[in-house]
Protein backbone atom coordinates (compact mmCIF):
# COMPACT_ATOMS: atom_id res chain seq x y z
CA UNK A 1 0.00 0.00 0.00
CA UNK A 2 1.20 3.47 -0.85
CA UNK A 3 2.47 5.80 1.86
CA UNK A 4 1.36 9.40 2.30
CA UNK A 5 4.12 10.98 4.39
CA UNK A 6 3.52 13.89 6.77
CA UNK A 7 5.74 15.78 9.22
CA UNK A 8 5.47 16.69 12.92
CA UNK A 9 2.53 18.32 14.72
CA UNK A 10 -0.04 17.71 11.99
CA UNK A 11 -3.11 19.29 13.63
CA UNK A 12 -6.84 18.67 13.31
CA UNK A 13 -7.40 21.98 11.51
CA UNK A 14 -5.00 20.78 8.82
CA UNK A 15 -6.69 17.36 8.62
CA UNK A 16 -10.27 18.66 8.71
CA UNK A 17 -10.62 22.48 8.75
CA UNK A 18 -13.41 23.57 11.11
CA UNK A 19 -15.27 25.33 8.33
CA UNK A 20 -15.83 21.97 6.63
CA UNK A 21 -16.82 19.88 9.65
CA UNK A 22 -20.37 21.07 10.24
CA UNK A 23 -21.59 17.61 9.29
CA UNK A 24 -21.57 14.02 10.52
CA UNK A 25 -21.71 12.62 6.97
CA UNK A 26 -18.76 10.24 6.81
CA UNK A 27 -18.55 10.22 3.01
CA UNK A 28 -18.38 14.00 2.92
CA UNK A 29 -15.75 13.99 5.68
CA UNK A 30 -13.71 11.51 3.64
CA UNK A 31 -13.69 14.00 0.77
CA UNK A 32 -12.37 16.89 2.87
CA UNK A 33 -9.36 15.19 4.51
CA UNK A 34 -6.34 17.52 4.06
CA UNK A 35 -8.45 19.52 1.56
CA UNK A 36 -6.46 22.73 1.95
CA UNK A 37 -3.16 21.47 3.34
CA UNK A 38 -2.56 18.82 0.70
CA UNK A 39 -5.25 18.94 -1.99
CA UNK A 40 -3.59 16.15 -4.00
CA UNK A 41 -4.36 13.74 -1.12
CA UNK A 42 -8.08 13.70 -1.85
CA UNK A 43 -7.50 13.23 -5.57
CA UNK A 44 -4.89 10.48 -5.28
CA UNK A 45 -5.66 8.46 -2.15
CA UNK A 46 -6.55 4.81 -2.81
CA UNK A 47 -8.39 2.36 -0.57
CA UNK A 48 -5.88 0.81 1.81
CA UNK A 49 -3.21 3.54 1.58
CA UNK A 50 -1.24 4.38 4.71
CA UNK A 51 -0.38 7.67 6.42
CA UNK A 52 3.06 7.90 8.00
CA UNK A 53 3.89 10.92 10.17
CA UNK A 54 6.31 12.31 12.73
CA UNK A 55 5.56 13.36 16.29
CA UNK A 56 2.26 14.52 17.80
CA UNK A 57 0.05 13.56 14.85
CA UNK A 58 -3.54 14.79 15.30
CA UNK A 59 -2.81 17.54 17.82
CA UNK A 60 -5.29 20.34 18.44
CA UNK A 61 -9.02 19.97 18.62
CA UNK A 62 -10.94 17.00 20.03
CA UNK A 63 -12.94 16.72 16.82
CA UNK A 64 -13.53 13.09 15.95
CA UNK A 65 -14.19 14.27 12.42
CA UNK A 66 -10.42 14.05 11.82
CA UNK A 67 -9.93 10.28 12.27
CA UNK A 68 -13.37 9.66 10.75
CA UNK A 69 -12.31 11.63 7.65
CA UNK A 70 -9.00 9.79 7.37
CA UNK A 71 -10.73 6.42 7.66
CA UNK A 72 -13.50 7.38 5.24
CA UNK A 73 -10.89 8.55 2.72
CA UNK A 74 -9.73 4.94 2.54
CA UNK A 75 -6.65 5.05 4.78
CA UNK A 76 -6.12 1.64 6.39
CA UNK A 77 -3.71 2.71 9.15
CA UNK A 78 -1.68 5.62 10.49
CA UNK A 79 1.92 5.07 11.60
CA UNK A 80 3.59 7.88 13.57
CA UNK A 81 6.40 8.50 16.01
CA UNK A 82 3.77 9.73 18.46
CA UNK A 83 0.11 10.74 18.48
CA UNK A 84 -1.78 13.50 20.28
CA UNK A 85 -3.80 11.80 22.99
CA UNK A 86 -7.37 12.75 22.03
CA UNK A 87 -6.74 11.79 18.40
CA UNK A 88 -5.29 8.49 19.65
CA UNK A 89 -8.37 7.69 21.76
CA UNK A 90 -10.72 8.79 19.00
CA UNK A 91 -9.03 6.54 16.45
CA UNK A 92 -9.20 3.51 18.71
CA UNK A 93 -12.84 4.29 19.47
CA UNK A 94 -13.84 4.42 15.80
CA UNK A 95 -11.63 1.54 14.64
CA UNK A 96 -8.88 3.39 12.74
CA UNK A 97 -5.70 1.35 13.35
CA UNK A 98 -2.76 3.35 14.68
CA UNK A 99 0.85 2.21 15.14
CA UNK A 100 3.50 4.01 17.16
CA UNK A 101 6.92 3.47 15.62
CA UNK A 102 10.22 5.23 16.15
CA UNK A 103 11.12 4.02 12.66
CA UNK A 104 8.49 6.24 10.99
CA UNK A 105 11.32 8.58 9.96
CA UNK A 106 12.80 5.87 7.73
CA UNK A 107 9.70 5.70 5.54
CA UNK A 108 9.34 8.11 2.62
CA UNK A 109 6.38 9.45 0.71
CA UNK A 110 5.30 6.98 -1.95
CA UNK A 111 6.96 3.93 -0.35
CA UNK A 112 5.14 0.60 -0.59
CA UNK A 113 4.35 -0.59 2.92
CA UNK A 114 2.65 -3.79 4.02
CA UNK A 115 0.91 -4.27 7.35
CA UNK A 116 -0.02 -7.71 8.68
CA UNK A 117 -2.94 -6.70 10.88
CA UNK A 118 -2.92 -10.09 12.62
CA UNK A 119 0.72 -10.04 13.72
CA UNK A 120 1.18 -6.28 13.66
CA UNK A 121 4.27 -6.63 11.48
CA UNK A 122 4.93 -3.64 9.26
CA UNK A 123 7.40 -3.82 6.42
CA UNK A 124 8.55 -1.17 3.98
CA UNK A 125 8.91 -3.07 0.70
CA UNK A 126 10.60 -0.13 -1.03
CA UNK A 127 13.32 0.07 1.63
CA UNK A 128 13.37 -3.63 2.49
CA UNK A 129 13.00 -3.03 6.23
CA UNK A 130 10.72 -4.21 9.03
CA UNK A 131 9.55 -1.51 11.45
CA UNK A 132 9.71 -1.76 15.23
CA UNK A 133 6.24 -1.10 16.60
CA UNK A 134 5.31 -0.24 20.18
CA UNK A 135 2.50 -2.56 21.33
CA UNK A 136 -0.72 -1.06 22.71
CA UNK A 137 -1.34 -1.30 26.46
CA UNK A 138 -3.50 -4.35 27.28
CA UNK A 139 -6.46 -2.20 28.34
CA UNK A 140 -6.60 -0.38 25.03
CA UNK A 141 -6.01 -3.56 23.04
CA UNK A 142 -9.26 -4.92 24.54
CA UNK A 143 -11.17 -1.99 23.05
CA UNK A 144 -9.44 -2.47 19.69
CA UNK A 145 -10.21 -6.20 19.74
CA UNK A 146 -13.91 -5.40 20.16
CA UNK A 147 -13.76 -3.12 17.11
CA UNK A 148 -14.12 0.16 18.99
CA UNK A 149 -15.60 1.72 22.12
CA UNK A 150 -19.26 1.31 21.19
CA UNK A 151 -18.92 -2.46 20.77
CA UNK A 152 -16.70 -2.66 23.85
CA UNK A 153 -19.35 -0.97 26.00
CA UNK A 154 -22.20 -2.93 24.38
CA UNK A 155 -20.54 -6.19 25.27
CA UNK A 156 -20.08 -5.71 28.99
CA UNK A 157 -17.53 -2.92 28.80
CA UNK A 158 -15.96 -1.96 32.10
CA UNK A 159 -17.32 -5.08 33.86
CA UNK A 160 -14.83 -7.12 31.85
CA UNK A 161 -11.70 -5.20 32.84
Amino acid sequence: MKVWKFGDDINTDVITPGRYTVTTDKKRLGEIAFIEYRPEFGKGVKEGDIIVAGNNFGCGSSREHSPVAIKAAGISAVIAKSFARIFFRNSINIGLPLFVSEDADKIDDGDEVEIDFKTGEISDKTKGIVLKVKPLPEFMQKIVDKGGLVEFLRSGGYDNV
Binding site: G18, T23, Y37, E64, F139
Partner: protein, 412 residues
Protein backbone atom coordinates in the same frame (compact mmCIF):
# COMPACT_ATOMS: atom_id res chain seq x y z
CA UNK B 1 2.66 6.67 48.81
CA UNK B 2 3.11 10.37 47.98
CA UNK B 3 0.77 11.44 45.17
CA UNK B 4 0.01 14.37 42.92
CA UNK B 5 -3.36 16.11 42.95
CA UNK B 6 -4.17 14.44 39.61
CA UNK B 7 -3.40 10.96 41.02
CA UNK B 8 -5.48 11.66 44.13
CA UNK B 9 -8.54 12.86 42.20
CA UNK B 10 -8.40 9.86 39.86
CA UNK B 11 -7.93 7.44 42.79
CA UNK B 12 -10.94 8.94 44.56
CA UNK B 13 -13.14 8.78 41.45
CA UNK B 14 -12.16 5.18 40.73
CA UNK B 15 -12.67 4.04 44.35
CA UNK B 16 -9.03 3.14 44.92
CA UNK B 17 -6.82 3.96 47.87
CA UNK B 18 -4.11 5.19 45.57
CA UNK B 19 -3.08 5.14 41.92
CA UNK B 20 0.19 5.93 40.16
CA UNK B 21 1.14 7.33 36.78
CA UNK B 22 0.72 4.60 34.16
CA UNK B 23 -2.17 2.79 35.91
CA UNK B 24 -5.39 2.30 33.96
CA UNK B 25 -8.50 3.27 35.93
CA UNK B 26 -12.23 3.43 35.32
CA UNK B 27 -13.46 6.60 37.03
CA UNK B 28 -16.90 7.92 37.91
CA UNK B 29 -17.51 11.08 35.92
CA UNK B 30 -19.05 14.16 37.57
CA UNK B 31 -20.07 15.88 34.33
CA UNK B 32 -19.90 15.02 30.63
CA UNK B 33 -20.16 17.94 28.19
CA UNK B 34 -20.53 18.22 24.44
CA UNK B 35 -21.10 21.28 22.25
CA UNK B 36 -22.96 21.85 19.01
CA UNK B 37 -19.99 20.71 16.93
CA UNK B 38 -19.22 17.50 18.83
CA UNK B 39 -22.60 16.53 20.33
CA UNK B 40 -24.11 15.07 17.12
CA UNK B 41 -21.41 12.36 16.82
CA UNK B 42 -21.54 11.79 20.60
CA UNK B 43 -25.29 11.26 20.39
CA UNK B 44 -24.78 8.75 17.54
CA UNK B 45 -22.34 6.78 19.69
CA UNK B 46 -24.52 7.06 22.80
CA UNK B 47 -27.65 5.83 21.06
CA UNK B 48 -25.89 2.62 20.01
CA UNK B 49 -25.02 1.89 23.65
CA UNK B 50 -28.00 3.02 25.75
CA UNK B 51 -31.50 4.50 25.67
CA UNK B 52 -31.17 6.79 28.67
CA UNK B 53 -28.30 8.99 29.81
CA UNK B 54 -26.72 7.96 33.13
CA UNK B 55 -27.93 11.17 34.81
CA UNK B 56 -29.82 13.95 33.05
CA UNK B 57 -28.35 16.53 35.47
CA UNK B 58 -24.78 15.51 34.70
CA UNK B 59 -24.85 15.66 30.91
CA UNK B 60 -24.28 19.23 29.68
CA UNK B 61 -24.99 20.40 26.13
CA UNK B 62 -23.83 23.85 25.00
CA UNK B 63 -24.38 25.50 21.62
CA UNK B 64 -21.37 27.78 21.29
CA UNK B 65 -19.42 26.91 18.15
CA UNK B 66 -22.04 28.15 15.68
CA UNK B 67 -24.96 29.74 17.48
CA UNK B 68 -27.33 31.06 16.21
CA UNK B 69 -26.89 28.77 13.21
CA UNK B 70 -25.16 30.57 10.31
CA UNK B 71 -25.90 27.82 7.77
CA UNK B 72 -28.53 25.19 7.01
CA UNK B 73 -25.96 22.50 7.84
CA UNK B 74 -25.44 24.07 11.26
CA UNK B 75 -29.16 24.40 11.88
CA UNK B 76 -29.63 20.73 11.01
CA UNK B 77 -27.01 19.68 13.56
CA UNK B 78 -28.67 21.94 16.16
CA UNK B 79 -32.00 20.21 15.51
CA UNK B 80 -30.40 16.86 16.18
CA UNK B 81 -28.81 17.96 19.46
CA UNK B 82 -31.90 19.81 20.61
CA UNK B 83 -34.01 16.71 20.05
CA UNK B 84 -31.59 14.76 22.23
CA UNK B 85 -31.82 17.44 24.95
CA UNK B 86 -35.63 17.23 24.90
CA UNK B 87 -35.81 13.42 24.65
CA UNK B 88 -33.35 12.91 27.49
CA UNK B 89 -34.69 15.79 29.60
CA UNK B 90 -31.17 17.27 29.88
CA UNK B 91 -31.32 20.01 32.52
CA UNK B 92 -27.99 21.61 31.57
CA UNK B 93 -28.64 22.98 28.09
CA UNK B 94 -27.18 26.39 27.19
CA UNK B 95 -26.93 28.70 24.20
CA UNK B 96 -25.45 31.70 25.97
CA UNK B 97 -21.81 31.06 26.71
CA UNK B 98 -18.62 29.22 25.85
CA UNK B 99 -18.93 25.65 27.14
CA UNK B 100 -15.91 25.85 29.44
CA UNK B 101 -17.05 29.09 31.03
CA UNK B 102 -20.52 27.61 31.58
CA UNK B 103 -18.96 24.58 33.30
CA UNK B 104 -16.78 26.83 35.44
CA UNK B 105 -19.60 29.17 36.46
CA UNK B 106 -22.31 26.58 37.10
CA UNK B 107 -21.02 23.05 37.59
CA UNK B 108 -17.41 22.11 38.32
CA UNK B 109 -16.27 21.69 41.95
CA UNK B 110 -12.83 20.82 43.32
CA UNK B 111 -12.14 17.09 43.16
CA UNK B 112 -14.55 16.47 40.26
CA UNK B 113 -13.75 14.40 37.19
CA UNK B 114 -15.11 16.31 34.20
CA UNK B 115 -14.89 15.29 30.56
CA UNK B 116 -15.87 17.37 27.58
CA UNK B 117 -15.96 16.78 23.85
CA UNK B 118 -13.70 19.76 23.38
CA UNK B 119 -9.94 19.77 23.72
CA UNK B 120 -9.92 22.87 25.93
CA UNK B 121 -11.77 21.08 28.73
CA UNK B 122 -8.36 21.23 30.46
CA UNK B 123 -9.41 24.82 31.38
CA UNK B 124 -11.72 23.81 34.22
CA UNK B 125 -8.89 22.11 36.12
CA UNK B 126 -8.04 25.58 37.42
CA UNK B 127 -10.74 24.91 40.04
CA UNK B 128 -8.85 21.93 41.50
CA UNK B 129 -10.60 19.25 39.45
CA UNK B 130 -9.41 16.67 36.92
CA UNK B 131 -10.85 17.89 33.63
CA UNK B 132 -9.89 16.73 30.18
CA UNK B 133 -10.99 16.78 26.56
CA UNK B 134 -12.19 13.66 24.75
CA UNK B 135 -13.72 12.88 21.39
CA UNK B 136 -17.37 12.43 20.65
CA UNK B 137 -17.60 8.63 20.92
CA UNK B 138 -15.84 8.72 24.30
CA UNK B 139 -18.36 11.30 25.51
CA UNK B 140 -21.20 9.17 24.08
CA UNK B 141 -19.85 6.29 26.17
CA UNK B 142 -19.79 8.45 29.30
CA UNK B 143 -23.32 9.73 28.62
CA UNK B 144 -24.40 6.08 28.63
CA UNK B 145 -22.36 4.74 31.56
CA UNK B 146 -21.30 7.68 33.73
CA UNK B 147 -17.82 6.21 33.64
CA UNK B 148 -14.65 6.71 31.67
CA UNK B 149 -11.30 4.93 31.47
CA UNK B 150 -8.09 6.86 31.92
CA UNK B 151 -4.42 6.13 31.93
CA UNK B 152 -3.21 7.99 35.02
CA UNK B 153 -0.87 10.62 33.59
CA UNK B 154 2.60 11.54 34.75
CA UNK B 155 2.67 15.12 36.00
CA UNK B 156 4.76 18.12 35.05
CA UNK B 157 5.10 20.81 37.69
CA UNK B 158 5.24 24.41 36.51
CA UNK B 159 6.41 26.44 39.49
CA UNK B 160 5.63 30.04 38.59
CA UNK B 161 7.17 32.60 40.92
CA UNK B 162 7.63 36.36 41.06
CA UNK B 163 5.44 39.15 39.77
CA UNK B 164 4.73 40.04 36.17
CA UNK B 165 5.87 43.40 34.85
CA UNK B 166 3.28 46.00 33.98
CA UNK B 167 1.59 45.08 30.69
CA UNK B 168 2.30 41.35 31.10
CA UNK B 169 -0.61 39.03 31.83
CA UNK B 170 -1.42 35.35 32.38
CA UNK B 171 -1.73 34.95 28.60
CA UNK B 172 1.84 36.14 28.13
CA UNK B 173 3.02 33.77 30.86
CA UNK B 174 1.35 30.73 29.32
CA UNK B 175 2.40 31.65 25.76
CA UNK B 176 5.98 31.94 26.95
CA UNK B 177 5.66 28.54 28.63
CA UNK B 178 4.18 26.91 25.51
CA UNK B 179 7.13 28.32 23.56
CA UNK B 180 9.60 26.78 26.04
CA UNK B 181 7.91 23.41 26.47
CA UNK B 182 6.83 22.94 22.84
CA UNK B 183 3.62 21.67 21.24
CA UNK B 184 4.33 18.09 22.32
CA UNK B 185 6.45 18.78 25.39
CA UNK B 186 3.70 17.80 27.81
CA UNK B 187 2.21 15.04 25.65
CA UNK B 188 -0.14 12.81 27.73
CA UNK B 189 0.94 14.56 30.94
CA UNK B 190 -0.85 16.47 33.68
CA UNK B 191 0.23 20.13 33.79
CA UNK B 192 0.17 21.29 37.39
CA UNK B 193 0.63 25.00 37.98
CA UNK B 194 1.97 26.08 41.38
CA UNK B 195 3.97 28.88 42.97
CA UNK B 196 3.41 32.38 44.34
CA UNK B 197 2.35 33.76 40.99
CA UNK B 198 -0.45 31.20 40.71
CA UNK B 199 -1.53 31.78 44.34
CA UNK B 200 -1.76 35.52 43.71
CA UNK B 201 -3.50 35.12 40.33
CA UNK B 202 -7.23 35.64 39.94
CA UNK B 203 -9.40 32.63 39.14
CA UNK B 204 -9.84 34.07 35.63
CA UNK B 205 -6.07 34.19 35.10
CA UNK B 206 -5.70 30.64 36.45
CA UNK B 207 -8.28 29.53 33.88
CA UNK B 208 -6.18 31.17 31.15
CA UNK B 209 -3.12 29.17 32.30
CA UNK B 210 -4.90 25.81 32.40
CA UNK B 211 -6.69 26.53 29.11
CA UNK B 212 -3.47 26.23 27.14
CA UNK B 213 -2.17 23.00 28.76
CA UNK B 214 -3.44 21.20 25.65
CA UNK B 215 -1.26 23.42 23.45
CA UNK B 216 1.72 21.64 25.03
CA UNK B 217 0.03 18.28 24.44
CA UNK B 218 -1.11 18.08 28.09
CA UNK B 219 -3.93 15.84 29.24
CA UNK B 220 -5.19 18.18 31.94
CA UNK B 221 -4.27 21.48 33.53
CA UNK B 222 -4.69 21.64 37.28
CA UNK B 223 -4.34 24.13 40.12
CA UNK B 224 -5.05 23.30 43.76
CA UNK B 225 -8.22 24.90 45.06
CA UNK B 226 -7.78 27.53 47.77
CA UNK B 227 -9.93 30.13 49.50
CA UNK B 228 -9.99 32.19 46.30
CA UNK B 229 -11.42 29.20 44.44
CA UNK B 230 -14.07 28.61 47.10
CA UNK B 231 -15.05 32.30 47.08
CA UNK B 232 -15.46 32.09 43.30
CA UNK B 233 -17.55 28.92 43.57
CA UNK B 234 -20.03 30.36 46.05
CA UNK B 235 -21.82 27.37 47.48
CA UNK B 236 -20.02 24.64 45.53
CA UNK B 237 -17.61 23.02 47.94
CA UNK B 238 -16.43 19.75 46.38
CA UNK B 239 -13.47 17.89 47.81
CA UNK B 240 -10.10 19.57 47.97
CA UNK B 241 -7.05 17.52 47.05
CA UNK B 242 -3.47 18.73 47.27
CA UNK B 243 -0.24 17.24 45.92
CA UNK B 244 2.03 15.74 48.54
CA UNK B 245 5.31 17.52 49.05
CA UNK B 246 7.33 14.53 47.86
CA UNK B 247 4.98 13.54 45.00
CA UNK B 248 6.78 12.34 41.88
CA UNK B 249 6.92 14.61 38.82
CA UNK B 250 8.22 13.72 35.38
CA UNK B 251 9.78 17.17 35.28
CA UNK B 252 9.66 20.49 37.11
CA UNK B 253 9.92 23.86 35.40
CA UNK B 254 11.00 26.83 37.54
CA UNK B 255 9.74 30.01 35.90
CA UNK B 256 10.32 33.59 37.04
CA UNK B 257 7.33 35.38 35.55
CA UNK B 258 9.09 38.69 36.17
CA UNK B 259 11.29 37.93 33.18
CA UNK B 260 8.34 37.46 30.79
CA UNK B 261 7.70 40.17 28.18
CA UNK B 262 4.44 40.59 26.22
CA UNK B 263 4.34 37.58 23.91
CA UNK B 264 2.90 36.56 20.56
CA UNK B 265 2.51 33.12 18.98
CA UNK B 266 3.10 33.34 15.24
CA UNK B 267 1.51 31.00 12.70
CA UNK B 268 1.23 28.21 11.93
CA UNK B 269 1.79 26.56 15.33
CA UNK B 270 1.19 27.67 18.91
CA UNK B 271 4.74 27.02 20.13
CA UNK B 272 6.15 29.50 17.61
CA UNK B 273 6.35 32.11 20.37
CA UNK B 274 8.26 35.39 20.23
CA UNK B 275 8.28 38.60 22.25
CA UNK B 276 5.86 41.11 20.74
CA UNK B 277 8.85 43.25 19.69
CA UNK B 278 9.54 40.68 16.94
CA UNK B 279 6.42 41.76 15.04
CA UNK B 280 5.80 45.35 16.16
CA UNK B 281 4.54 47.37 13.20
CA UNK B 282 2.92 44.47 11.33
CA UNK B 283 -0.48 45.66 10.02
CA UNK B 284 -3.58 43.74 11.14
CA UNK B 285 -7.05 43.39 9.61
CA UNK B 286 -8.92 41.89 12.54
CA UNK B 287 -8.55 42.00 16.31
CA UNK B 288 -10.44 39.43 18.35
CA UNK B 289 -11.11 39.60 22.09
CA UNK B 290 -12.87 36.59 23.56
CA UNK B 291 -12.87 32.75 23.66
CA UNK B 292 -12.32 30.23 26.45
CA UNK B 293 -8.80 31.63 26.83
CA UNK B 294 -9.49 35.34 27.31
CA UNK B 295 -13.21 36.20 27.22
CA UNK B 296 -13.58 36.90 30.94
CA UNK B 297 -14.40 40.15 32.70
CA UNK B 298 -10.79 41.03 33.59
CA UNK B 299 -9.85 40.58 29.91
CA UNK B 300 -12.65 42.86 28.75
CA UNK B 301 -11.72 45.34 31.49
CA UNK B 302 -8.08 45.65 30.42
CA UNK B 303 -9.14 46.11 26.78
CA UNK B 304 -11.71 48.73 27.78
CA UNK B 305 -9.13 50.74 29.72
CA UNK B 306 -7.02 50.95 26.58
CA UNK B 307 -9.87 51.68 24.18
CA UNK B 308 -12.19 53.93 26.19
CA UNK B 309 -12.73 57.30 24.57
CA UNK B 310 -10.67 56.35 21.51
CA UNK B 311 -11.37 54.90 18.05
CA UNK B 312 -9.87 51.79 16.55
CA UNK B 313 -7.93 52.20 13.31
CA UNK B 314 -10.01 52.25 10.13
CA UNK B 315 -8.20 49.25 8.67
CA UNK B 316 -9.16 47.04 11.63
CA UNK B 317 -12.36 45.32 12.68
CA UNK B 318 -12.55 44.49 16.39
CA UNK B 319 -14.72 41.58 17.53
CA UNK B 320 -15.63 41.04 21.17
CA UNK B 321 -17.34 37.89 22.44
CA UNK B 322 -17.74 37.77 26.23
CA UNK B 323 -17.29 34.15 27.37
CA UNK B 324 -20.69 33.93 29.03
CA UNK B 325 -23.95 35.77 29.53
CA UNK B 326 -22.97 36.53 33.16
CA UNK B 327 -19.75 38.14 31.92
CA UNK B 328 -21.68 39.97 29.19
CA UNK B 329 -24.08 41.44 31.76
CA UNK B 330 -21.26 42.37 34.14
CA UNK B 331 -19.39 44.10 31.29
CA UNK B 332 -22.62 45.87 30.33
CA UNK B 333 -23.24 47.04 33.89
CA UNK B 334 -19.69 48.34 34.24
CA UNK B 335 -19.98 50.31 30.99
CA UNK B 336 -17.28 48.26 29.27
CA UNK B 337 -19.45 47.18 26.36
CA UNK B 338 -20.64 50.74 25.70
CA UNK B 339 -17.04 51.95 25.68
CA UNK B 340 -15.94 49.15 23.36
CA UNK B 341 -18.78 49.74 20.91
CA UNK B 342 -18.07 53.48 21.00
CA UNK B 343 -14.47 52.66 20.12
CA UNK B 344 -15.66 50.74 17.06
CA UNK B 345 -15.98 47.16 18.32
CA UNK B 346 -18.63 44.68 17.23
CA UNK B 347 -19.81 43.01 20.44
CA UNK B 348 -21.27 39.61 19.58
CA UNK B 349 -23.28 37.10 21.60
CA UNK B 350 -21.30 34.94 24.04
CA UNK B 351 -19.97 32.11 21.85
CA UNK B 352 -16.65 31.02 20.41
CA UNK B 353 -17.55 30.77 16.71
CA UNK B 354 -14.91 33.13 15.26
CA UNK B 355 -11.98 31.27 16.88
CA UNK B 356 -12.74 28.18 14.89
CA UNK B 357 -13.91 29.86 11.69
CA UNK B 358 -17.46 28.58 11.99
CA UNK B 359 -19.37 31.72 12.87
CA UNK B 360 -18.46 35.36 12.29
CA UNK B 361 -15.08 36.98 11.91
CA UNK B 362 -13.98 34.77 9.03
CA UNK B 363 -10.67 35.83 7.49
CA UNK B 364 -10.16 36.62 3.81
CA UNK B 365 -7.17 35.91 1.62
CA UNK B 366 -3.90 37.09 3.15
CA UNK B 367 -5.57 38.80 6.11
CA UNK B 368 -3.95 39.04 9.54
CA UNK B 369 -5.89 38.49 12.76
CA UNK B 370 -4.44 39.30 16.18
CA UNK B 371 -6.45 37.25 18.64
CA UNK B 372 -6.71 36.40 22.32
CA UNK B 373 -7.61 32.79 21.40
CA UNK B 374 -5.39 29.75 21.86
CA UNK B 375 -4.75 28.40 18.35
CA UNK B 376 -3.19 29.84 15.23
CA UNK B 377 -3.34 26.82 12.90
CA UNK B 378 -3.40 27.32 9.13
CA UNK B 379 -6.92 27.85 7.80
CA UNK B 380 -8.54 27.78 11.24
CA UNK B 381 -10.37 31.10 10.90
CA UNK B 382 -10.86 31.26 7.17
CA UNK B 383 -8.68 31.39 4.10
CA UNK B 384 -5.56 29.22 4.49
CA UNK B 385 -3.37 32.14 3.44
CA UNK B 386 -4.61 34.22 6.40
CA UNK B 387 -2.37 34.59 9.45
CA UNK B 388 -3.54 34.19 13.05
CA UNK B 389 -1.30 35.66 15.73
CA UNK B 390 -2.04 35.02 19.41
CA UNK B 391 -1.58 37.62 22.13
CA UNK B 392 -2.99 39.02 25.39
CA UNK B 393 -6.15 41.15 25.55
CA UNK B 394 -4.01 44.25 26.18
CA UNK B 395 -1.86 43.62 23.11
CA UNK B 396 -4.95 42.97 20.99
CA UNK B 397 -6.74 46.12 22.20
CA UNK B 398 -3.71 48.38 21.78
CA UNK B 399 -3.00 46.97 18.32
CA UNK B 400 -6.63 47.54 17.28
CA UNK B 401 -6.12 51.22 18.09
CA UNK B 402 -2.85 51.42 16.20
CA UNK B 403 -3.97 49.35 13.22
CA UNK B 404 -0.78 47.33 13.56
CA UNK B 405 0.85 45.19 16.21
CA UNK B 406 2.21 47.28 19.07
CA UNK B 407 3.71 46.76 22.50
CA UNK B 408 0.76 47.27 24.88
CA UNK B 409 2.97 48.94 27.49
CA UNK B 410 3.01 52.09 25.40
CA UNK B 411 -0.80 52.29 25.73
CA UNK B 412 -1.35 51.60 29.44
Amino acid sequence: MPSTITEKILANASHKKEVSAGDFVVADVSYAMAHDSTAPLAIEGFSKIADKVFDNDRVIIVFDHFFPAPTVAGATLHQKSRKFVMDQNISGFFTNGVCHQILVEKFVSPGDVVVGADSHTCTEGALGAFTTGLGSTDIGGVMATGKCWFKVPESLKFNLTGKTKKGVYAKDVILSLVGDVGAAGALYKACEFTGDYVKDATVASRLTLCNMAIEMGGKNGVIEADQKTLDFLGGRVGKIFKSDKDAVYADTYEIDVGAVEPQVALPPVVDNVEPVSAVVGKPIDQAYLGTCTNGRLEDIEVATKILKGKKIAQNVRLLVTPASQDIYFAALKNGYLQALVDAGAAVCNPTCGPCVGRHGGVLGEGEVCLSTQNRNFTGRMGDPSAEIILASPATVAASALAGKIVDPRDYL
